[in-house]
Amino acid sequence: MPRGLWTTTVGSFPKPPHLEKARQQFARGEITADRLGEMEREETVAVIRRQEAIGLDLLVDGELYRGDMTTYFAELTPGYAVSNPVRSYGNRYYRKPVAVGPIRRTKEWTVEWWKFAQAQTKLPIKGMLTGPYTMMDWSFNEHYPSREAMTMDLAAAINDEALALQEAGAKYIQIDEPAISVRPEELPLAVKAFARATQGIKAKTITHICYGDFDVIYPALLDLPVDQIDLEMANSRYDLLDRFRVNAFTKEIG
């Protein structure tokens, strides 16, 4: 394993057309959950083989079984419902989680998928979760009296899943917080929730942040209790690097 500059990917891989079609068929009741799961496992293996062939060091399962990074968790979690489609940009839509009651993790979200993926390779597979602040910010809320109350319930639920991933053997757990860069006044809440979500975690922790205004949260972002921050920089032509000359980046950078 190389030291210093590892290669990895952020998370999800594109679903091949036949898997997209199968997901639509499943939604219409035309194929069974078993058949869809079989196809998702086949494609997960293919994604792992592809990463090995390319020579990546730290792999992902590709999230081929997830619709998107919030709704997948909401569908498995009591207290959450899922809305009809909402537009994100142009002709892109997603179904948004709706908090309708207390949010509790009553069963594993990703552990079985992580175990399956890890069994396919000798290289490490990252556990991949969405962070509590982002889950809150990207949900409608019909239940909680405050954003903080909802975020902290989510943090407790995510912590349960992170501990389960660690128990299963995950050495790297990525908890993405792309929404963290938009409300600087709520950064302390995001930090507090992230600390709760990673309580008791000895595995290396990573978070991914993207598409935001870093001017308003940097360097305070470095308060996040995480080992590595993976930043989207290409879209802004790497101008983040100039900020690091002024305020040194004190985490591992991804």
Binding site: P85, V86, R87, Y89, N141, E142, A179, V182, N235
Partner: protein
């Protein structure tokens, strides 16, 4: 006393009734090579018609066309201006929606109508006068990457002048009200007042149409002194996302209108008309000398189409209750 109901920007494009034209499906088919640009244009027109008919049926006093053909609130207009190049996706403030960032690469110039033709077509579909939509000049500057001016006041003023020409084209097309979306004014600090004023002063010069400067997601308090005396007709407030907006009411000059954004455009929880009517009564109690509009806090596109429709119904029910003096 009747309070005018209106929208505060674009409207969800998906149908709520099975069998209605689904613009998303038609665009997907076009992208797959199975539909033509003409078919997409027809679907945009059908979607616009549906949005306007819905507002007419529910009883919105001042409907809007809904921006069926727009990808976001900026790009459609920005790409029509000289000196602008459209670049990559960025998140739209603290919403989980995105826009393509305009880059200012040369002097910003208006070279011809961008939205006026579309507005004229939409107006022909409506029994009631439509309120036209434009991105606000200050926000458009803040959403853009300035590779030309290097001075926010100059850049914002240039957008103000260019969008002012577009507003004049909308007036020529028959617009009597223009909604000007200025989310960045709600995020501005006092030091930004000069640029905000420059943008709006240039934009508002010499217009006949009434203008609603709508500030979703934040309160304009920090810069309100800088724009208080400008010739806008109405200031639109997001009183759910930024309750501090109530502090603006005592400062609004006599004879102006205040847009009360009291229907939350960013959450599916439905408002009780009694509570909304109560808030209207509070505003009237504070400033009985002002006129009021009642609206969602922002574009209803942050909601699923079925919820947006219910929100419009609550909006009209709230206005009816407010007219009776109930709360």
């Amino acid at each position: 006393m009747k309070i005018q109901t209106t929208l505060a920007g674009s409207y969800p494009k998906l149908p709520t009734v099975a069998g209605d034209v689904n613009l998303r499906v038609v665009r997907n088919r076009r992208d797959a090579g199975k539909a033509t640009d003409d078919e997409v244009a027809a679907a945009v027109r059908a979607t616009t018609r549906r949005m306007i008919e819905l507002q007419n049926r529910i009883g919105i006093d001042l409907p809007m066309e809904g921006q069926a053909g727009w990808d976001d609130a900026q790009t459609f207009v920005a790409r029509g201006l000289e000196g602008i190049r459209i670049a990559g996706l960025l998140r739209y403030l603290d919403t989980n929606t995105y826009y393509r960032q305009p880059e200012i690469v040369g002097p910003i110039r208006w070279t011809g109508p961008i939205t006026a033709g579309e507005f004229r077509e939409a107006q022909a579909l409506s029994a009631r006068p439509l309120k036209a939509f434009l991105p606000g000049p200050y926000s458009l500057y803040r959403f853009s990457k300035d590779m030309r001016y290097g001075d926010p006041t100059e850049g914002a003023r240039s957008f103000g002048e260019a969008l002012g020409r577009e507003a004049a084209a909308l007036e020529e097309a028959g617009a009597t009200w223009i909604h000007v979306e200025e989310p960045w004014i709600g995020h501005a600090r006092a030091a930004d007042g000069r640029a905000v004023r420059a943008a709006l002063e240039a934009f508002l010069a010499g217009h006949r149409a009434k203008t609603m400067i709508h500030v979703p997601f934040g309160s304009p308090m920090a810069v309100f002194d800088s724009i208080r005396d400008l010739p806008w007709t109405a200031i639109g407030l997001d009183l759910v996302g930024a309750p501090a907006g109530w502090e603006i009411l005592p400062l609004v000059p006599k004879g102006r209108t205040v847009g009360l954004g009291l229907i939350d455009a960013r959450n599916t929880r439905l408002e009780a008309p009694e509570a909304v009517a109560g808030a209207v009564a509070r505003a009237r109690g504070l400033r009985p000398d002002l006129d009021y509009h009642l609206s969602p806090t922002a574009s209803l596109e942050y909601l699923p189409a079925d919820t947006a429709e219910k929100k419009l119904e609550r909006l009209v029910a709230s206005a009816a209750l407010a007219a009776k003096g109930g709360a």
